[in-house]
């Protein structure tokens, strides 16, 4: 993917999500900040750093701070497949997340690593992404998966926050992202681990961003 620089970002702080110069940029990212109340400060700092780096690259970003959003849990009703195809019947901010997900070239999942996986705050949004796929099944590689609904899907960058090194949880986190990338038809996927109290996180995230967006 190519980079474009010089885009000035604007933040609408009073909205439940923020948009950095969304309609002018060539490339877009959707950032889901899954920080919980306990991990809010570090998740917010990671989110701000990531958005800033993307802005410098000329990307537009939509940021969703998940803990502020009232999103109903997925009911597993499949109405988004067989009644209102492509859209969840529940009208809440999860619809906007799905819309931005499909519009974006990159999806960034920011989360404290919880047992190797995502926090419940992040997962409540991811669970509701099911309408972006079709109900139909097909082979992807040597496995059965759902058929894509759209031609293109965003690459995935997962930024997981851990109190300290934990090889097992880091391995699970990477595996989860890889599996998500198959189910979500992401062509590129990267996992980035940030440790609590880690000083300079910007270079680390920038390196992972470059890998996942091909910069």
């Amino acid at each position: 993917m190519s980079r474009r620089s010089g885009t000035i970002g604007r933040v609408f702080a009073d909205r439940i999500w923020q948009v950095y110069d969304s309609d002018m940029a060539d490339h877009r990212a959707v950032i889901l900040n899954g920080g919980t109340s306990e991990s809010a400060s570090q998740a917010d700092s990671v989110c701000e750093t990531t958005a800033g780096l993307l802005e410098r690259l000329g990307w537009g970003s939509s940021i969703f701070r998940m803990r502020d959003l009232d999103i109903a849990p997925c009911k597993g009703c499949f109405h988004c497949w067989i009644r209102t195809p492509g859209e969840c019947i529940v009208d809440d901010p999860a619809r906007e997340i799905a819309r931005e997900f499909i519009r974006s070239d990159l999806a960034v999942f920011i989360t404290p690593i919880v047992f190797g996986g995502y926090s419940h705050e992040l997962k409540k949004g991811i669970d509701r992404l099911i309408p972006v796929l079709l109900p139909y099944f097909t082979f992807v590689g040597n496995e059965v998966h759902h058929v894509r609904r759209y031609r293109g899907y965003p690459n995935l960058l997962g930024i997981g926050i851990l109190p300290a090194r934990d090889p097992e949880e880091e391995a699970i986190f990477s595996q989860l992202l890889l599996r998500n990338s198959i189910n979500m038809y992401a062509l590129g996927v990267e996992a980035c681990i940030i440790y609590a109290g880690e000083g300079e996180i910007s270079a680390k995230i920038e390196g992972k961003l470059a890998e996942v967006i091909g910069g």
Binding site: R28, T36, P73, C74, K75, G76, W81, I82, R83, P85, G86, E87, A98, R99, I102, R103, S104, D105, V114, F115, G116, G117, Y118, S119, H120, E121, K123, K124, I126, D127, L129, I130, V132, L134, P135, Y136, F137, T138, F139, E143, V144, H145, R149, Y150, R151, G152, E168, E169, I172, Q175, L176, R179, N180, N183
Partner: protein, 213 residues
């Protein structure tokens, strides 16, 4: 010997009708026959205090949940976070409850559950539960003889204080039906359901969101 099992249902479809509940019923049959008392809680609406009290008094905890995007549904993760947080503040027991996870996915291959099973195992370790094994099912927990047998063998072993035996994995790991048959049959079924809802084949392919250029 009076032992207590706690079954935690992680499906939004509830404690009565969900596949997760049905699967757990087969597993707990041998436990009940052996005199265990079995309590069931729906994680979506369980009272936090009741959940924690039930966990403290259980000898065996069974989590039965569907797979959502390679992991557990958000409300289940929320409960897991709460349990670990509370357990961190309680004194270590002499004998930790045993923990078993049964996950079912909508794909034909049970191996899609592997990442989520690793998450469950990590949760068990963090909650100071003794890991007693996992069972992964495909086809949305559809029950066939081989699966039923596996669940009963697991239930019998657990009732005697043993972990889920390796034989159960051998019985459950293979797809229930040929994969191509699942794809064809599944796709026909989706079309049929959509037709009943007044939708055409084309309607099912709708793209309500504007894709990126």
């Amino acid at each position: 010997m009076n032992r207590d099992a706690l079954v935690l249902i992680g499906s939004p479809k509830g404690i009565e009708k969900s596949a997760s509940a049905r699967v757990s019923l087969v597993l707990t049959e041998p436990l009940e026959t052996a005199g265990w008392s079995v309590k069931r809680l729906w994680l979506y609406d369980a009272d936090e205090d009741e959940l924690l009290t039930s966990i403290l008094s259980a000898d065996l905890i069974i989590l039965s949940s569907p797979l959502y995007f390679d992991s557990l549904p958000a409300p289940v993760i929320r409960r897991m976070e709460v349990v670990v947080e509370k357990r961190r503040r309680t004194p270590v027991e002499e004998k930790a409850p045993r923990f078993v996870s049964i996950l079912n996915c909508g794909f034909v291959e049970p191996k899609h559950n592997e990442t989520a099973q690793r998450i469950c195992r990590r949760f068990a370790s963090r909650a100071r539960f003794e890991w007693y094994g996992s069972i992964s099912l495909g086809c949305a927990g559809a029950m066939r003889r081989r699966i039923r047998r596996g669940l009963i063998i697991a239930g019998e072993a657990l009732s005697k204080g043993f972990p889920v035996p390796p034989k159960v994995k051998r019985l459950t790991k293979k797809p229930l039906i040929p994969r191509l048959a699942y794809i064809v049959g599944g796709n026909v079924t989706w079309r049929r359901i959509a037709k009943k809802n007044g939708l055409s084949k084309g309607d099912l392919l709708a793209q309500p969101y504007k894709p990126r250029p």
